[in-house]
C-alpha cells in the first residue's frame, strides 16, 4: 500500500521525508536533552540553554546519581535501589512467565468445562484499574508478613502479571495444530511430556516476547512500588521520584537527568537489542488484551 501519486511528484516525497525527519528529531529531543544536561556542570546549566552541547563534559552527575545523591533522608545514590529492582524483576518475570506458559498450554490445548469462562475472566484482569485492588492487597500483604518486602512485591507482580503472560501463551499455542497433541497421545505421551517435547521446542519466540514484556512492565512499575515497598526495599522508579523531589543543598538538574537515564537504561537496552519482540509484545498485549 503506497501513495503512487505522491511518489511521482518529487516535491511530495521531499515533504514526506522532511516531516518524518522533523518528528524523529522531536522524539529524540528529550533523550538528547537528558544526556547533554547530565554531562554539564550546574554553572553551565544555569548559563547555557537546553540544546547546547556540554563545553566540558563531566561524569560528576553520573557518579553522584549512582552512589551519593539523596533519595529522601538517605544519600547513597540510586545503586541500592537499582539492585532492589533487579531482585524484584528477576524472580517476578521468571515465575509469571513459567506459570503463564503452563496456563496458556492448558487453556489452548486441554480445554475442560468452564475453561473458556476462566480465560474470559482472566482476560478481564488485564483491564482493571489497579486502584481497585490496592487497599485489600495491602492488608493481605500485611497479614502474610510481606508488607514492605521484596518478596511481597514479587508476589504482587506475579499475581497481576499472570493474566498477561497467560494471554500471550494461550494465543500462541492456539496456533499450534491440535493434531500434534493427538499424535503424541497415541504414542503414549501425557500432559507434561507433550509440553516438554512438542510445545517447549516451538516456544522460544513467545518466551522472548513474554519475558521482554514482563521485564519492561515490572521494571517500569511505580504504583505497586510506591504502595507496597518501604525504606530499603524501594524499586528504582520510586527512588528516582524521591531523588528528583529531594532538594537538599540546591537543585542539581544534571544529577536528576543522569539518574533518570540510569533508571531507563535497562529497558532501553532491551528495546534496542530486541525491539522487534518488544513491538510484538506491545501489539499482542494491546490489540488482543
Amino acid at each position: 500500500m503506497n501513495l503512487k501519486m505522491l511518489s511521482g511528484i518529487s516535491l511530495g516525497r521531499v515533504a514526506i521525508y522532511l516531516i518524518l525527519i522533523v518528528f524523529a528529531l522531536l522524539y529524540l529531543a528529550p533523550l538528547y536533552v537528558m544526556l547533554t544536561t547530565s554531562l554539564k556542570d550546574i554553572e553551565e546549566i544555569r548559563s547555557g540553554n537546553l540544546l547546547a552541547l556540554p563545553n566540558d563534559p563531566t561524569f560528576y552527575a553520573w557518579i553522584k546519581a549512582w552512589s551519593s545523591a539523596c533519595t529522601g533522608s538517605e544519600c547513597n545514590g540510586l545503586a541500592p535501589f537499582f539492585w532492589n529492582s533487579v531482585k524484584i524483576v528477576v524472580p517476578a518475570v521468571l515465575i509469571s512467565t513459567v506459570v503463564g506458559a503452563f496456563n496458556g498450554y492448558v487453556l489452548a490445548k486441554w480445554k475442560f468445562k468452564g475453561s473458556e469462562l476462566l480465560f474470559g475472566a482472566l482476560l478481564f484482569g488485564c483491564f482493571i484499574p489497579f486502584q481497585v485492588i490496592l487497599l485489600p492487597m495491602a492488608i493481605l500483604l500485611a497479614k502474610l508478613g510481606l508488607a514492605n518486602t521484596v518478596s511481597g512485591l514479587v508476589l504482587v507482580h506475579v499475581i497481576y502479571g499472570v493474566a498477561f503472560t497467560t494471554l500471550f501463551f494461550r494465543n500462541y499455542y492456539v496456533g499450534i495444530p491440535t493434531e500434534l497433541v493427538r499424535a503424541a497421545q497415541l504414542d503414549g505421551a501425557g500432559f507434561l511430556n507433550i509440553f516438554r517435547h512438542v510445545f517447549l521446542p516451538l516456544s522460544t519466540p513467545i518466551f522472548v516476547v513474554t519475558i521482554i514484556w514482563q521485564f519492561t512492565q515490572i521494571w517500569n512499575d511505580f504504583l505497586f512500588g510506591v504502595v507496597y515497598s518501604g525504606p530499603g526495599t524501594q524499586p528504582i522508579t520510586v527512588a528516582l521520584n524521591n531523588l528528583v523531589n529531594t532538594s537538599i543543598g540546591g537543585k542539581e538538574y544534571n544529577v536528576d537527568m543522569a539518574a533518570a537515564i540510569i533508571a531507563a537504561l535497562p529497558t532501553l537496552f532491551v528495546y534496542v537489542v530486541a525491539g522487534k519482540y518488544f513491538v510484538r509484545g506491545l501489539t499482542a498485549g494491546a490489540v488482543k488484551g
Binding site: 503506497n2 511518489s7 514526506i16 533523550l31 476462566l118 485489600p136
Partner: protein
C-alpha cells in the same frame, strides 16, 4: 491412581492461578466495593453507611478537579495521539528509506517508564531554565512558558508528555493495519482516478476502523490508570490543580487515612473502565460471531 492424576493434571496446573484470580481480582474488587459503603478511615471497619462516602466524594471539589482533568486529558491525549500516529504511519508507509530506524525512534519512548518521562519533561518545561530560556536566548526576550507552575495549564504538560510517550505506539498499530490493506483495492481506486486524499479518506480509513477502536480503548485505559506521570511531572500540582482520579485515590487512601473515600473513588474508576470496555468487548464478540 496415576491415570486419575494424569486426567486432572490440566486442572491442577491451572488451579493456583484460578484461586489467585478469584481472590486477588474479583474478591478484592468486591472487598473494595463493600469498603466504599463503610465508615472506614485509618483502618477498614464494617459499619455500613450506604452511599455516604460517595456523597462525600462528589462533594469534594478536589475530586471534581480530578474528573475534569481526566476528561481534558483523555480527550486531548487520544485525539492528538490518533492524528499524529495515523499521519506518521501513512507517511512511513510510502516506501521510505531507513523505515526501520525511523520506526525505532518513534517507538522508543514506550520502553521508558512514566517516571523517567515525567522527570525529563519536568526539566524541559522548567520555567526559567527550560524551553523558556532556550527561546529567550534565541532572541525572543519576552517569551514566557510556565505551564508547569500555572494551575490552569499544568494538566496540558501531562498531555504533552503522554503524547510523546504513547503516539509512537499508535503509529505502530496503524502501520500494522495499513500493511494489511489489500493492494488490489488501492490499485483499483487509482485506475478510477481517485486522488491520494480521497483514497485514504474514503477507502483506507474506513478499513482501519478496528484499529481506531483498539487504539481508543488502549489509550483510554492508559489515561484512566495514569498515575506515575502526574506524580513525576507535576506531583498533582500546583496545589492539586493537575490531579487525576488515580492520584486522588492514592492520596486519600494512603496519605490522608480516608479509606472509604479512596475505595469509593477506586470504584468510580473501575466503572469508568467498564463503560469503555464492555461495548468494545461486545462489538468484538459480535464481529467474531457474524
Amino acid at each position: 491412581m496415576l491415570n486419575l492424576l494424569e486426567k486432572h493434571l490440566p486442572k491442577i496446573v491451572i488451579a493456583p492461578t484460578t484461586v489467585a484470580m478469584i481472590v486477588c481480582m474479583y474478591g478484592f474488587i468486591l472487598w473494595t466495593g463493600l469498603l466504599s459503603f463503610t465508615k472506614s478511615r485509618m483502618m477498614p471497619q464494617w459499619d455500613f453507611v450506604g452511599f455516604e462516602q460517595y456523597v462525600r466524594l462528589f462533594d469534594n471539589p478536589r475530586w471534581h478537579i480530578a474528573l475534569d482533568n481526566l476528561f481534558i486529558f483523555i480527550f486531548l491525549f487520544i485525539a492528538i495521539s490518533l492524528v499524529l500516529g495515523l499521519l506518521l504511519a501513512i507517511f512511513l508507509d510510502q516506501r521510505i528509506r531507513n523505515e526501520g530506524a525511523i520506526r525505532t525512534i518513534y517507538l522508543y519512548p514506550m520502553a521508558i517508564s512514566f517516571i523517567v518521562t515525567g522527570t525529563a519533561w519536568k526539566w524541559i518545561l522548567n520555567p526559567g531554565l527550560g524551553i523558556e530560556k532556550l527561546l529567550r536566548d534565541m532572541g525572543f526576550v519576552d517569551f514566557e512558558f510556565r505551564w508547569l507552575v500555572d494551575p490552569d495549564m499544568a494538566i496540558y504538560t501531562i498531555v504533552i508528555a503522554a503524547v510523546w510517550q504513547s503516539s509512537g505506539f499508535v503509529m505502530a498499530m496503524f502501520l500494522a493495519g495499513l500493511r494489511g490493506v489489500d493492494d488490489n483495492l488501492t490499485k483499483a481506486a487509482k485506475i478510477d482516478g481517485a486522488s491520494a486524499i480521497r483514497l485514504y479518506w474514503h477507502i483506507i480509513l474506513p478499513i482501519m476502523r478496528p484499529v481506531f477502536f483498539s487504539a481508543i480503548v488502549i489509550l483510554t485505559h492508559i489515561a484512566i490508570k495514569s498515575f506515575d506521570l502526574v506524580q513525576a511531572l507535576t506531583g498533582g500540582g500546583p496545589g492539586y490543580a493537575s490531579d487525576l482520579p488515580a492520584n486522588f485515590m492514592y492520596t486519600f487512601a494512603f496519605n490522608r487515612a480516608q479509606m472509604g473515600v479512596g475505595a469509593a473513588s477506586a470504584m468510580i474508576m473501575l466503572f469508568g473502565v467498564l463503560a469503555v470496555l464492555i461495548p468494545y468487548l461486545y462489538s468484538e464478540l459480535r464481529e467474531k460471531k457474524s
